[in-house]
Symmetry: C2
Subunit: 346 residues, 2 copies
C-alpha cells in the first residue's frame, strides 16, 4: 500500500540502537557466541567467564534482541506476562521485579505487565491470553485457579507460575510464605525477652495479603512458645496522627515488644513512641522487616527481618527451562527466605 510520507516520516532516525555485533565487539567474542549465550543454547558449551562477559556487555550497551524477529523464528511470542500488582510494590519487590525483568530480557523475553485491575480467575486469564504470552507469572492476589491455568495453556502459554502463598493445580508454584517473616520476628522478640508482643496491622488498602500472614506467623510462634506470652494486634495508618494516637495509649496496652510489619511503619512508630517519651528498646523492643537503608539511619538502629528473594537470573533460568520443556511436572519452589537481623532497637 503506497502512502505519501508525511513530514515527520521523512526525517532521519538518529537512534544508535545497539546490535548484537556491538555486544560481540565489546565482549571480544564472535556474534555466534553472543547469540548462543543470550539465547541460552544448551547445545553449545561456553565457559562461565565468557557468558558473564557477554551478559555484562549486553547490559552495558542496553542490548535486547528483537522480540518480533525472535518470535518469527520460534513460532510463538516471547512475551512473559506479569499482572500488575494492585498496589505500588514496596522498594524490595520493585527491585526484585526490575531484576527479574532484566534477566528475562537477557533470555530474549519481553516482559509485559498487564493492568487487569479488578479481574480475577478465568476472566483475568482470558484477558491475559489475548496477548498470547509464552509464560505467565501471576501474583497470588490474582486468584488464579486450575481452570484459569487451563485457559492460559490452551492459548499457548507454555509456562504458568504463581507467586504467592499457595499452589494452583497445573501451575508451577513460587511459594512466598509471608508467615515466615512473622515467625522470625516473634522468635527474635521472644529471645530478647519480650512476652507481650504487639503486631502492627497496616490500615492501608491492599496490604492485607502481606500483613495478615505476617501477623498469623507471629501468632503461631508466640502461641507455640507458651509461658503466658500474648499477642496484641495494633491497627495503624501510615500517617503521623494515627501513630501519635497509638503512642498515646501505648502504656495501657502492656506491650513490651512490637513487630511493625515493615521498616517504614517501624520508623513511623519509633518516632511517635520517642515523642511520647517511651524508650526503645528499654520499654518496648522493636523489629521491622525488609532491611531497608532507612532502618540503619534510625537511632536506635532498627532490628529487622531480612527477606531473601531468589535472584532474577535464577528465576529467569527456571522460566526458560519450563518454556523449553512445557510437559515438565509442575514444581513447588520455596522462594522466600527470612532471617532476623539484630541491631539496637530490640
Amino acid at each position: 500500500m503506497a502512502q505519501i510520507p508525511n513530514k515527520s516520516a521523512q526525517q532521519t532516525a538518529q537512534y544508535a540502537v545497539p546490535t548484537s555485533a556491538d555486544v560481540a565487539r565489546l565482549a571480544g567474542v564472535s556474534r555466534a557466541t553472543v547469540s548462543y549465550v543470550l539465547n541460552n543454547t544448551s547445545a553449545v558449551r561456553i565457559s562461565e567467564p565468557t557468558r558473564r562477559r557477554v551478559h555484562e556487555a549486553a547490559k552495558e550497551l542496553g542490548y535486547v534482541p528483537h522480540a518480533a524477529a525472535r518470535s518469527l523464528r520460534a513460532g510463538h511470542t516471547r512475551v512473559v506476562l506479569m499482572p500488575t500488582p494492585q498496589i505500588p510494590a514496596g522498594p524490595l519487590f520493585s527491585e526484585f521485579f526490575n531484576e527479574l525483568q532484566w534477566a528475562l530480557s537477557r533470555f530474549d523475553y519481553t516482559v509485559v505487565q498487564y493492568g487487569s485491575l479488578g479481574l480475577t480467575g478465568e476472566e483475568a486469564a482470558r484477558a491475559w491470553a489475548e496477548l498470547r504470552p509464552v509464560a505467565v507469572l501471576a501474583p497470588g492476589a490474582s486468584g488464579l485457579g486450575a481452570r484459569a491455568v487451563d485457559v492460559l495453556k490452551r492459548s499457548g502459554a507454555k509456562a504458568v507460575f504463581t507467586l504467592g502463598p499457595q499452589r494452583t493445580e497445573g501451575a508451577h508454584a513460587l511459594l512466598m510464605d509471608q508467615r515466615r517473616i512473622g515467625n522470625r520476628a516473634a522468635e527474635h522478640l521472644l529471645e530478647r525477652g519480650s512476652r507481650h508482643i504487639g503486631v502492627v496491622i497496616p490500615e492501608e488498602q491492599g496490604l492485607e495479603p502481606f500483613a495478615r500472614p505476617r501477623a498469623e506467623g507471629l501468632r503461631q510462634t508466640v502461641t507455640g512458645h507458651g509461658r503466658g506470652a500474648t499477642v496484641t494486634e495494633l491497627p495503624l495508618a501510615y500517617d503521623e496522627e494515627s501513630a501519635a494516637r497509638l503512642a498515646a495509649r501505648w502504656r495501657t496496652l502492656g506491650v513490651d515488644g512490637v513487630f511493625t510489619y515493615n521498616d517504614e511503619y517501624a520508623m513511623l512508630l519509633m518516632r511517635a513512641l520517642q515523642d511520647e517519651g517511651i524508650a526503645v528498646p528499654g520499654e518496648t523492643a522493636m523489629i521491622g522487616a525488609d532491611d531497608l537503608v532507612l532502618g540503619r539511619l534510625l537511632r536506635p538502629r532498627l532490628s529487622t527481618v531480612r527477606i531473601e528473594l531468589p535472584s532474577g537470573q535464577k528465576l529467569a533460568e527456571l522460566v526458560d527451562r519450563v518454556v523449553r520443556d512445557p510437559g515438565m511436572e509442575p514444581g513447588v519452589h520455596d522462594v522466600l527466605g527470612a532471617t532476623a537481623v539484630h541491631r539496637e532497637s530490640s
Copy 2:
C-alpha cells in the same frame, strides 16, 4: 474443535467476578447509568454526585468492564501502552501511575506496561505497535522521535503522549520540567540565607534524567541571584559509607545550604552530618524533595519541595478525549508543579 476436557477444566469456576449489575445495585442506579458513567458518555447528563457514587461502587467492588467485549464493540483495542520505566519508580511516581491506571480502567482502558528494556526510538515503537495500542504514554527516556510517533500512528494508535522534559513532533506532550524542582529548592535556600549551595547528585544508575535537570535548575536560580552565590555538586551513593565520607569532608566544602535531590537522600545525609556533629540547619540548611512522610519524622523536620502531578482522573480524561478525536492538534500540557515547604531543617 471438540476437545476432551481434562481434569482441571471440569472443575467449576468459583470466582465471584463483579458485574455492572452489582455496581448498579451498590450505587443505587440503573445499569444504563453505570454504563453511561463508566464509558464517560458525554451525550447523557449525569449529576456529579451520581457519577461519584458509580465510580466509588465500581472501585469498591473492583469492577472493570471487559476489554475484549469493549474492543469488539469499538472496533479496536482499548489497550493503553506505557513503557516500563528502566528503574523502579519512587513512591511518588508509583502512586501517580497506580492512580492513572485505575482512572484509565474506569474509562474502560486496559493499561499494559511494556518492558522494552534497552529499546529506543523506532525500534521501541515497532515493538509496542505489535500490541496494537489505542494510546501510548511514553516516558521521556524512551527517546521517542517523530518517526517513532509515526510508526505508532500507522499501527492504529489514536493518541500518543510523551511524559518528560521535551516535545516530540506529532505527539501530545505532558511536560515534566524537573528543573523547576531545583529552582524552588534554590530560591528557598537563598531566601533562608544560604549563599554556598551544595546539590546532591545521586550516583545510582538510572537517576540521571531526574538528577541532572534538578541540579541544572538549581544552578540557574543561584547564578541568576548573583552576589557571589555558588554551587557545589556533591556526588553521593545511597549508602551509609558514602554519606559518612561526604560528611567527614563537609566543613572543607564551605557549603551552608544543600538540596539533597529527594527526601530519601536527605535522610541519609542528615544522619551522616549529625553523626559528624554538624548542626542542621545551624551550620547547613537542608531541603529535600517529594514531601514523603519520612521527612516529617526526621528531627529537625525536613523542608522539602512538594511535587504536584496531575490527578489520574484528569489525565485519563485527556487520553480519552484524544482517542475520541485523534485529529486534535497535539497540545502541550505543563503537568509538573513544585512548591517549597518550609519546616525545620532550613
